[in-house]
């Protein structure tokens, strides 16, 4: 699907308004009035959070599979991180292998994929070296931290400082399972990411999943850290998350992310398109906020966006 077709779809059937009483002034009352077709045609969605675990014999083939779905929904740019097998606490050899896959994807799809280097701060020296290989000297523009080390651990500080020098965007996975009791041993919460952020004021980071299913607690946890941005992706498309995030954080701190291929682009886009927020806010969330956050790194790399 090209962008024009996608926008026609949005304007006619897919993106519908919600509760009339709660609708901001510029949310259209009917689907046919959803946005301006030219605006939407020029939008192009940026996704802050995808993985390449889709079927395919090579990383490039897996990305091709994923892009077929992304294209049908107008997702233009994809922050790409981690390649299977998924390893909670990867050794340096394992995270280097995963990053090799992402490097191959970025090389093959330079117009679509932004690479995020996967690190495990438990192996700090090797992680810093990998940051140099993939971001300082390579084409990647961000860092992915998963469940190898809790976000408030001191090992993250040298990584954050170097990321700031490189203008790389950090996405830290967070989840709150059963009020935190169900988390993996080293799985971070938004509260722990807020602690890290407080040690690095002014440095923007992305709160991956924003606590997942318990996003209402996650949003509260990052509210007072203006550098932290809420990634909406990865949980069920439950009504209310987008509305609360915009209300509590402001739309400029909210990002569309899918967590594809595990999640569906559709289910995660649906929560933004169906939200009771303004069209202007949807545009920020679907593209402009992420573009703004990545622009320093993209400029440094000479990547046009």
């Amino acid at each position: 699907m090209n962008r024009r077709t996608f926008c026609t779809t949005l304007a006619t059937g897919a993106a519908l308004p919600a509760i009339a009483a709660a609708r901001p002034a510029d949310v259209p009352a009917t689907a046919s009035a959803w946005g301006n077709a030219d605006d939407l045609r020029n939008l192009g969605i940026w996704d802050v959070h995808i993985h390449v675990g889709s079927p395919g014999a090579t990383p490039e083939k897996r990305m091709e599979t994923l892009l077929r779905s992304a294209d049908r929904l107008g997702v233009e740019r994809l922050c790409t991180m981690m390649s299977p097998p998924w390893q909670y606490e990867p050794t340096p050899e394992q995270f280097r292998r995963s990053n090799d896959d992402v490097l191959a994807i970025v090389k093959s799809f330079p117009e679509r994929a932004f690479g995020f280097v996967y690190l495990n701060p438990r192996h700090l020296k090797e992680s810093l070296a990998e940051l140099e290989r993939c971001v300082a000297d390579g084409p990647m523009v961000g860092i992915k931290l998963w469940v190898g080390t809790r976000a408030n651990a001191p090992e993250l500080d040298p990584i954050v400082r170097r990321a700031a020098e490189l203008k790389a965007l950090i996405l830290q996975h967070t989840w709150i399972k059963q009020r935190g009791k169900g988390n993996l041993p080293h799985e971070s919460t938004p509260m722990e990411l807020a602690e890290l952020s407080a040690r690095h004021p002014g440095f923007p980071m992305v709160c991956g999943h924003t606590g997942g299913g318990d996003w209402a607690l996650g949003i509260r946890a990052i509210r007072d850290r203006p550098e932290l941005h809420a990634d909406l992706g990865g949980g069920d498309p439950v009504y209310g998350e987008v509305e609360m995030a915009v209300r509590e954080l402001g739309a400029s701190r909210v990002l569309y992310g899918s967590d594809a291929n595990g999640r569906s682009f559709a289910s995660q886009l649906g929560r933004v398109l169906g939200a009771d927020i303004s069209v202007a806010d949807k545009k920020l969330i679907l593209r402009e906020n992420l573009r703004r956050l990545l622009l320093p790194a993209l400029t440094r790399k000479g990547i046009r966006a």
């Binding site: 897919a14 519908l16 009917t30 889709s54 079927p55 077929r68 929904l73 059963q178 009504y239 569906s264």
Partner: protein, 288 residues
Amino acid sequence: MDRRSFLTFAAGSAGLAATGGAAAAPAAGDGFVDTNVHLGSWAVRRGWADAPAELAARLRRHGVTAAWTGHFDAVLHSDLGGANARLAAACAGSGGLLVPFGTVNPTFPDWADDLRRCREVHGMPGIRLYPNYHGYGLDDPRFAALLARAAASRLLVQIAVLLEDERSQNPALVAAPVNLAPLPEVLAQTPGARVMLLNSGGRVLNAHTPLLQRLIQAGCGFEIATLEGAGGLGALLQRSPGAKVAFGSHAPWFYFEAALLKLQESELTAAQLAAVRHGHATALLSPA
């Protein structure tokens, strides 16, 4: 679905949105059946439509021609007869859009009369069960008895595998997903039983386990509200072409658009699209 089909459908939705009334309801072939809708509020969070009229109006604007609807009251209330009566009354005011699916708990005394009222008093075409909140497993003889009586009454039985992700449940309201392993055998022993699973994505549809194949062979129906994965619907139908997968949104708990866009995310044939939109639902409700 090819792009043309989707856009034809989408254009129909736009027309509805512009007029916004029941009189503009599309023909059956243009709209679709949403098999997974609830009235009321779930205990821990609001949905996007509180009032039945608002829910119905908004589903109509999306092109929905029938919405199989349960009531959240039925999950935790003990007076299921009252909850079912309220559900029936609320649906009756929807101009035929909301189709009531009452609830029966086979661990309750005289549950059979709740079932009888669903059919004979309220004219419901099916019932919706919440075994994980109602305290029984699918290997419980009382479930088998309920299934047999529902089959005799020609009622479709929907089983809600879960209502919300178990990882995010309030600690005071925890319910593990329903264990479906006994279901194929129970179905094999119950001639005429028709069963559809709601919210089975994470446990069954996404997992591609042998259990899924056994459920398909047993004639179970499914819906897509919790089906995940990029291009997940197309992938499911490719690896399990015999699966009876209907449209379901889990509205208003989930955003309706999340399910709607799944029809666009995968490249489906016109026949597959029609089956998901209304074909499988129609067949489940009115078997040949």
